[in-house]
């Protein structure tokens, strides 16, 4: 029984973003790359499933520049995944081409029982690949999942919707699940895990062998800009009463937002 987890590498959340000289992309010098935080929940959920279903094989899949992505895949293998697929591709592929590549790579392997992804990647926040992967594979899909029970032929889950409300959803057949924070507590890779990971199979796949090229992307990002500098803060003086009074007045008369 095959379980797949699709993961991505992203700049650490503490990264200060700078732009490259022609503003066509960010300046990646010195960036610390980490596994996308939501993907950690996806990996953990797959490993939890494997614990209760020892026959399951957990395959982690990632797409991107080979050297960097290998690191994320090794992390997932060290956490306990069985093997890995690495699709060597430029990081500028859009969600559509990425989902198409992942779908084809999975189609070339054993049919999935479950596929886990993060609900979104914290770099471009597109939250599209998970849904599109499911469409390309013709599977059911739910994202922003914070609770999951896997049955024999169905999964039952809870997903977060608006204003803190939740939906209880049942998916019949193999499914793609987009993990949210709260789904579980991801484990750390143990030292023996890290040692073992080095010997686990990692298969490299050329993008072209999946029938996908860069021109399959439907959009790309250009002309990057940093947020405009904010004017210096206006510090309000006086005691709490005076501060509150002047703030209310400024919000109404100067900022005109209330």
């Amino acid at each position: 029984m095959r379980v797949y987890v699709c993961i991505k590498q992203v700049p650490d959340t503490e990264t200060k973003i700078k732009l490259n000289a022609d503003k066509s992309y960010i300046d990646t010098t010195g960036i610390k790359w980490v596994m996308n935080p939501y993907d950690e929940y996806a990996v953990e959920e797959a490993l939890k499933y494997k614990q209760s279903h020892p026959s399951a094989n957990v395959t982690v899949v990632s797409l991107g520049p080979k050297k960097r992505v290998t690191e994320a895949l090794r992390t997932a293998l060290a956490m306990g995944a069985d093997d890995a697929l690495l699709i060597d591709a430029p990081e500028t592929l859009d969600s559509f081409a990425t989902a198409k590549s992942l779908a084809q790579a999975i189609k070339n392997e054993e049919a999935p029982h479950l596929i886990f992804t993060g609900k979104l990647a914290i770099d471009d926040n597109a939250s599209s690949v998970s849904q599109q992967l499911a469409e390309f594979l013709g599977l059911q899909h739910t994202t922003v999942v914070s609770k999951l029970e896997v049955g024999t032929n169905e999964v039952t889950l809870e997903r977060e919707i608006e204003g803190g409300s939740r939906e209880v959803v049942q998916l019949l057949g193999p499914a793609v699940i987009g993990a949210n924070k709260g789904l579980n507590q991801p484990r750390y890779a143990s030292l023996p895990g890290i040692m073992k990971a080095k010997k686990k199979p990692l298969k490299e796949i050329e993008l072209s062998s999946l029938g996908v090229t860069e021109s399959d992307s439907k959009l790309n990002y250009t002309n990057f800009a940093l947020p405009p500098e904010k004017p210096p803060v206006k510090i309000l003086e006086g005691d709490a009463g005076a501060q509150a009074e002047s703030l209310a007045k400024l919000l109404r008369e100067e900022a005109k937002v209330i």
């Binding site: 599109q132 059911q140 204003g163 803190g164």
Partner: protein, 320 residues
């Protein structure tokens, strides 16, 4: 005149503000607007859609669309669009839209981009969106041949004037048969019936400076006065004071309200990224060196427990 499709959502019989903003933008650019509304409640909004510029309104009032189901909504959208000539589809970047439209884009081989903050339909198509949760922004360049699905963050564009004499041609289409494999069993209402953080016009957020979970009550009072939604920093969500659904930041929700009031939040990089797009930012913190003051429009260095109740009083005076 080219068709622009606007997917419209409603709540309590009124078109959501985010949808009105998109209708206004398309009308302002002289586009022929085809509005699509799904579910029985959409029927009540046809006049309002026309008053904001829709020339055609396509409805599917099937009871099965009362609540969101991705399979049914996708089938309905494919049905609505099958004979329609369009290049651009606009929708508000809501929870529903962010789930639905990537699927539709996969089916139509279309481009889809979410959470956009700038849209200009006048001369060609100009779109920008935040990257890295707002640490920078980028222009979205679309492949010419592709249909373009653009999900705009609410509160970014002005709502135009209402024209009560405007009318639209309304048509109803049937929901195609679907072999249901995704079944929505139940919708469990959250503690808050308020508008979601990602769509809120005013947000009051609390951090560790509030000292304990019970003190969020103070923020709720302030929020109620302003009709605001309450948010929180990662630290207090991780500490379990409030649910994760309230977290603002790079690993929570990216927000862009008109007014953001940060109480007892020092301003970690990942939090600042998530709220940097707010139009006006108020910081209340007892540490004058807190990084949040570098992003704030107005700052109050002081004790939140003294300032917040006074502020609630002031707002009450002003708004009543």
């Amino acid at each position: 005149m080219s068709n622009v499709v606007v997917f419209c959502e409603s709540q309590n019989g009124k078109v959501k503000k985010g949808s009105l903003e998109l209708l206004s933008a398309a009308r302002g650019a002289g586009k022929n607007i085809v509005a699509i509304g799904l579910g029985p409640a959409a029927k009540e909004t046809t006049d309002e859609l026309a008053h904001y510029g829709a020339k055609n309104v396509m409805l599917c009032s099937d009871e099965k669309l009362s609540n969101y189901n991705p399979q049914l909504y996708l089938a309905a959208m494919l049905e609505a669009l099958k004979d329609l000539d369009f290049e651009v589809l606009l929708a508000s970047s809501s929870v529903l839209a962010r789930d639905l439209f990537p699927r539709l884009a996969a089916k139509l081989e279309a481009a889809v981009t979410s959470d956009c903050t700038e849209l200009d339909l006048n001369s060609g198509l100009q779109v920008r969106r935040p990257m890295y949760a707002g640490k920078c922004t980028a222009q979205v360049d679309f492949k010419d041949s592709a249909k373009k699905i653009i999900l705009m963050r609410p509160n970014q564009l002005p709502v135009g004037s209402v024209d009560n004499s405007a009318t639209a041609e309304v048509s109803e289409f049937a929901l195609p048969a679907v072999d249901l494999k995704t079944i929505v069993k139940e919708v469990v209402k959250g503690a808050s019936e308020k508008i979601d953080l990602t769509e809120a016009n005013i947000i009051v957020s609390g951090g560790r400076g509030l000292k304990e979970a019970a003190n969020f009550k103070m923020l709720e009072d302030l929020a109620d006065t302003l009709g605001a939604t309450v948010g929180a920093s990662r630290a207090v969500c991780d500490a379990g004071w409030v649910p994760h659904s309230m977290q603002v930041g790079q690993t929570g929700k990216t927000v862009a309200p008109t007014l953001y009031i940060a109480v007892g939040i020092s301003g970690a990089i990942q939090h600042l990224a998530g709220m940097n797009g707010s139009k006006v930012i108020v910081a209340i913190n007892n540490d004058p060196e807190a990084p949040i003051f570098q992003k704030a429009t107005y700052g109050i260095v002081g004790d939140a427990f003294e300032v917040v109740p006074k502020l609630t009083e002031e707002f009450k005076k002003l708004l009543n």
